[in-house]
């Protein structure tokens, strides 16, 4: 059961359980116990599972460790400290050493000093970088606190000798649990934890999380099925100073150049009003672009910190993101801690709790797309208790203005968007079953029960589980070939390991993070974005494509760099590249629609402009200038056509002289819009047999087609009940499925990234995965790994669950449809039409497509039949 702890313990309670040495140390460092400590330390001491949710800088880590250090120090003094792992600490970050130094080694040194003699408490770090010699040492003398990553934990549990050190662990701490729960790393970890609990039955689980929702789900993810968990939600008021800033007076009228120039002038201003500024962009390439532009626009003010010249004393700005070298990132972190940088630009890599010293201002360039992410980013400022959090969102365009303003409102009113935890991932399951089989022979029934202990698999259907067992046992190929494929044997209700290579295969291919390589797109010398190798392969010279909202013409590629020039106003010839974009959260999208609904009511009631602006001003916590800009934008749409809102979906029909567009104004975020647009396009294709283009963004989507099509009829044919079946067919030929199939094939050990000492490049993996996908389709269209790839696309990449709710609401008429016809796209439709299409639904089969292309060739090159 999940229970919320709402009353903290008294400081006396903590004093009562803490060893005198620990207490002396604590009071030498801190004046008093923090709120998270008052809530959490006692429970952890009593070995009760607990989830602590608190903002960054709220002493969460020490809350987790205090009781554990207490136990270790106490045992050491009483001479009963055993040679075993007492606590496993798991963090999603690989770069742990700095933080551990600060959070554990230093305190331990200080405690030993107070104690007067060494305590013999060992801290060990085991990650992918740990050397064999270090591993040996750990085996001989297991660390009392073991610091590790989810991937290394899975390996240790599979290593015959290390497993013994993990018997009877007392505590396990999951740091930054929110960052793990929402992806397959977390799913993988949830099974590793069950494997750990199997050999450490009394383990107490501790989760440390940033502000996140719903806490119930995260708590269940932490502890697994049918176990108790205490939840502590410490959102004490770190005082918030949050604002939305527009770089220009009128974001509607400003030209691209003006907006760009003024944005950087504003950033420059803000940087110089503060000591250290942390700037977040939404993409890695965006990070590069900001650094590049600040350097070019203000050449004397900023000199970039680079790898090549680490001794440069006057470096003032640095970039930090996942594609940069580890050395570069460490250097930037170090410079930040020493206060040597004026500004640091990052994408998502600095969102997590890496120690980066004092930051007094956080800038989000463009909407951070979710309330939780914004709070997380903002929390990096004033990274100390009781300090003011100062953060600014700078808007990029008019949709962004509305989005940021509503986001700010939700953040201040603490409406946190819900996080999505992937469920029943068959590829991760396959990998972990191999690992379990490597431990020992196990009954299939016992295994099934063990798996369902994980929250991510609590509803795993037995037949899906058996499909994975059969897959791993090679039962999809004939008996004589089976030895090649089988990683387990399956006989008389039991399974066990099979094949002498299986252990090595697991050890070298464990984990869930797919290999990705990015091709940098450059306009002259300026990096403007990133695309992947497969996308590049399809580009021909002269192709126009959309990247980050702007059109570019492809010139040529050299190695991993693609060169383009600007193609303003030209029509894209290939779908826009969107995969790197952060999606708007569904909940925030609904809030935006709710706001439109409110404004709609007010304008309809003939309220004056002044009063309406004053409403927006009060409702959204934005200044008058921004309120007026929002008013102008919304009013323009109101006068031109109509406002979409939670109860009314606006469908705009527009003909551009070539194609018909049906634009759906649906601010549900791109994950939902991806589903809805494909479903409608598929329905059109099925009933009227035509290829249909789809275009999506966070605020709506469109379907476009040649000739006349009855879109509303196609929509009415679409039933929420059939949505999944329709979508599975609709994505069958899509790029996104092809890419995700590769990831799933790697995770389920069908494609071995590392094998016989060789590592496969991403391009090679993709080629293999295409052949593999064709081959498994010949076996069955429901082959378990293909099925998982489809599930991942529909549930994790897209959001079929909420799309289904929207469709259901349309069927129930709780959402009504309003159709309008326009001669030019309405204001709300502008961005969407400009960005171009993202995919074409392939309705024809391969033979029909060839026939059509042949007819086209005959017409174009005048070939005689």
């Amino acid at each position: 059961m999940i229970t919320y702890k709402t009353v903290p313990n008294k400081p006396e309670d903590l004093v009562g359980i803490l060893n005198p040495t620990i207490l002396r140390w604590f009071y030498s460092k801190f004046k008093e116990f923090s709120l998270p400590q008052l809530f959490g330390v006692f429970e952890i001491h009593c070995r009760r599972n607990i989830l602590v949710s608190a903002p960054t800088g709220a002493t969460k880590t020490l809350t987790g460790f205090l009781s554990i250090l207490n136990e270790l120090v106490d045992s050491s003094q009483k001479n009963i400290l055993e040679d075993k792992v007492y606590c496993v600490y798991i963090s999603p970050l690989k770069a742990l050493s700095n933080d551990i130094e600060k959070n554990l080694l230093e305190p331990l040194k200080e405690i030993e000093k107070i104690n007067g003699k060494p305590l013999g408490i060992r801290i060990g770090v085991r990650t992918g970088d740990t050397t064999p010699a270090q591993k040996q040492r750990m085996l001989a003398k297991p660390p009392h606190i073991l610091i590790t990553t989810p991937e290394s934990l899975a390996i240790m549990l599979t290593s015959l000798r290390f497993r013994d050190a993990l018997r009877n662990v007392d505590w396990c701490i999951l740091d930054e649990i929110h960052a793990l729960a929402e992806n397959k790393r977390g799913v993988h970890l949830s099974l590793s934890l069950e494997r750990l609990q199997r050999i450490s039955p009394a383990i107490c689980r501790i989760g440390l999380s940033a502000t996140v929702a719903p806490l119930d789900d995260v708590a269940q993810f932490l502890v697994g099925t049918n176990r108790d968990c205490m939840v502590v939600d410490v959102h004490f008021v770190k005082s918030l100073d949050l604002k939305v800033l527009s770089p220009v007076k009128d974001v509607l009228e400003a030209t691209y150049d003006e907006l760009n120039r003024k944005t950087y002038a504003l950033i420059d201003d803000l940087i110089h009003q503060h000591k250290t500024t942390l700037i977040f962009t939404n993409t890695r390439a965006g990070t590069e672009r900001v650094v590049h532009n600040l350097k070019t626009l203000f050449p004397k003010k900023y000199i970039e910190a680079t790898d090549d010249d680490p001794t440069h004393v006057s470096t003032l700005i640095g970039a930090h993101h996942g594609s940069l070298s580890k050395r570069h990132r460490l250097m930037i972190e170090e410079k930040l801690r020493r206060g040597e940088l004026k500004a640091c630009v990052s994408s998502t890599s600095l969102e997590l709790g890496l120690d980066i010293g004092y930051i007094d201002l956080v800038i989000c360039l463009g909407s951070p797309k979710s309330v939780a992410r914004f709070l997380q980013r903002a929390g990096r400022a004033g990274h100390k208790l009781h300090e003011t959090v100062k953060a600014r969102m700078i808007v990029l365009d008019r949709d962004d203005l509305v989005e940021c303003a509503v986001l700010l409102k939700s953040a201040i009113e603490r409406k946190i968007d819900k996080l999505h935890i992937p469920k029943n991932c068959l590829d991760v399951l396959a990998q972990q079953i191999v690992a379990i089989a490597l431990e020992d022979v196990i009954e299939v029934k016992t295994l099934y029960d063990l798996i369902r202990q994980s929250y991510c698999y609590r509803n795993l259907p037995y037949d899906q589980f058996m499909q994975i067992i059969e897959y791993l046992a090679g039962e999809f190929v004939s008996l004589e070939d089976r030895h090649v494929y089988a990683k387990i044997w399956h006989n008389e209700g039991k399974i066990g390991k099979r094949g002498k290579m299986t252990r090595v295969i697991f050890m070298t291919n464990n984990g869930t993070i797919p290999d990705e390589t990015g091709v940098v797109v450059k306009l002259g010398t300026e990096p403007i974005g990133m695309i992947d190798e497969q996308f590049l392969e399809k580009l021909k010279k002269g192709d126009i494509f959309v990247l980050g909202g702007d059109c570019y013409e492809f010139l040529h590629a050299k190695g991993m760099v693609a060169y383009v020039h600007a193609a303003v106003g030209k029509k894209p010839t290939v779908p826009s590249w969107v995969s790197e974009m952060l999606p708007l959260s569904f909940d925030l999208g609904v809030e935006i629609q709710r706001f439109f609904g409110n404004v709609n009511d007010i304008i309809t009631a003939n309220t004056s402009k002044k009063e309406t602006i004053s409403f927006i001003n009060n409702n959204l916590y934005v200044d008058e200038k921004a309120a007026e800009a929002i008013y102008n934008y919304v009013k323009e749409q109101y006068d031109f056509a109509a406002l979409p809102h939670t109860k009314r979906l606006l469908v705009e029909h527009y003909f551009d002289g070539e194609k018909h567009y049906s634009i759906f104004h649906a601010a549900y975020g791109r994950r939902v819009n991806d589903v809805l647009s494909r479903a409608i396009a598929f329905s059109i294709g099925r009933s009227q047999h035509k290829d249909v283009e789809v275009g999506i963004n966070d605020h709506g989507f469109y379907v476009a087609y040649e000739g006349s099509i009855n879109v509303m009829r196609a929509l009415s044919l679409l039933k929420a009940n059939d949505l999944r079946t329709a979508l599975e067919m609709a994505i069958d030929q899509s790029e996104v499925l092809r890419r995700r199939f590769r990831h799933c094939a790697c995770r389920s050990l069908m494609i071995l990234r590392n094998y016989m000492g060789y590592t496969k490049r991403v391009g090679r993996q993709q080629v293999s995965s295409m052949i593999l996908m064709n081959a498994v389709k010949r076996i069955s269209n429901n082959f378990c790994i293909l099925q998982e790839a489809k599930r991942e696309v529909l549930e994790d990449v897209m959001d079929i669950e909420n799309a289904n709710k929207v469709l259901q609401a349309m069927e129930d008429k709780t959402i009504s449809l309003k159709e309008i016809e326009t001669k030019i796209p309405s204001p709300f439709a502008h961005t969407l039409i400009l960005q171009g299409y993202s995919d074409v639904l392939r309705i024809e089969d391969k033979h029909e497509f060839l026939k059509k292309m042949h007819a086209l060739v005959l017409a174009k090159i005048g070939l005689k039949r």
């Binding site: 090649v484 290939v574 069908m750 060789y758 496969k760 090159i861 070939l863």
Partner: protein
């Protein structure tokens, strides 16, 4: 579809009078991928024989000629190659009394397998004015000099066609000129991969140094004539 007098395309094969030619089958491809850590299930042999059985049903050929690269692994004989190559020879005997295999560059060890069925390997086959060879090297013999039509494989020609966001790749035949002779290039019979796109990939065969003037015959449910490579490149 007839390519020239007496020579016509039949699905992935080429008929010369009453002889059938198949090129670049690459049996054992899956196992070689398996050895590299890609666990492709072995579905190809079944798919190939089913497809051939459909197009060859009720027919009888004077000879069936396998134009090189019957086997995939260069340096060893994989167990699945033993199995499938022998069964494939047995399968083809339903449709002919004479099987001829032209040695391809992947086939240095093939003779050990084919010997079990008394099929020997040759470097080329001449049928009237037509000279059939794998295509990895340019022959120097007299029959070659005298031939008017050359048939090769080796290159696995395919074409990627794109319309808006959709790209599909199809196997294709090429027909062009080589030093005054007519040149016909056959697609690969391997069903796991389509082949290499003639619009973007470099040719491997010395016969195809300049293939821009070659005409394309694309294999789908029918054979479609697509004109010259350079026209497709420029106009599509």
């Amino acid at each position: 579809m007839q390519l020239t007098k007496g020579i016509s395309i039949m699905d992935l094969g080429l008929c010369i009078e009453s002889n059938l030619i198949l090129a670049d089958i690459h049996l054992g491809y899956e196992e070689s991928q398996n050895r590299k850590g890609v666990l492709i299930p072995r579905v190809f042999y079944k798919a190939l024989t089913e497809r051939l059985a459909k197009s060859l049903e009720g027919k009888h050929f004077t000879s069936i000629i396998l134009n090189g690269d019957v086997k995939h692994e260069f340096g060893s004989i994989a167990p699945s190659e033993w199995r499938t190559i022998l069964s494939f020879i047995d399968f083809l005997r339903r449709y002919t009394d004479k099987i001829v295999i032209i040695e391809g560059n992947h086939d240095p060890l093939l003779k050990h397998i084919t010997a079990k069925r008394n099929v020997s390997l040759v470097e080329h086959v001449s049928l009237g004015n037509t000279y059939i060879t794998h295509g990895d090297v340019i022959p120097k013999d007299k029959e070659y000099e005298a031939a008017e039509i050359i048939v090769i494989g080796h290159d696995h020609p395919a074409i990627s066609l794109r319309k808006m966001a959709r790209v599909e790749t199809y196997k294709c035949f090429l027909k062009g000129k080589w030093k005054g002779k007519t040149l016909i290039v056959m697609p690969s019979c391997n069903l796991l991969t389509e082949g290499s796109n003639v619009l973007s990939r470099k040719a491997l065969s010395p016969f195809l140094k300049d293939r821009e003037d070659c005409e394309l015959y694309v294999v789908g449910d029918n054979i479609y004539r697509f004109g010259k490579i350079k026209d497709i490149r420029e106009k599509m």
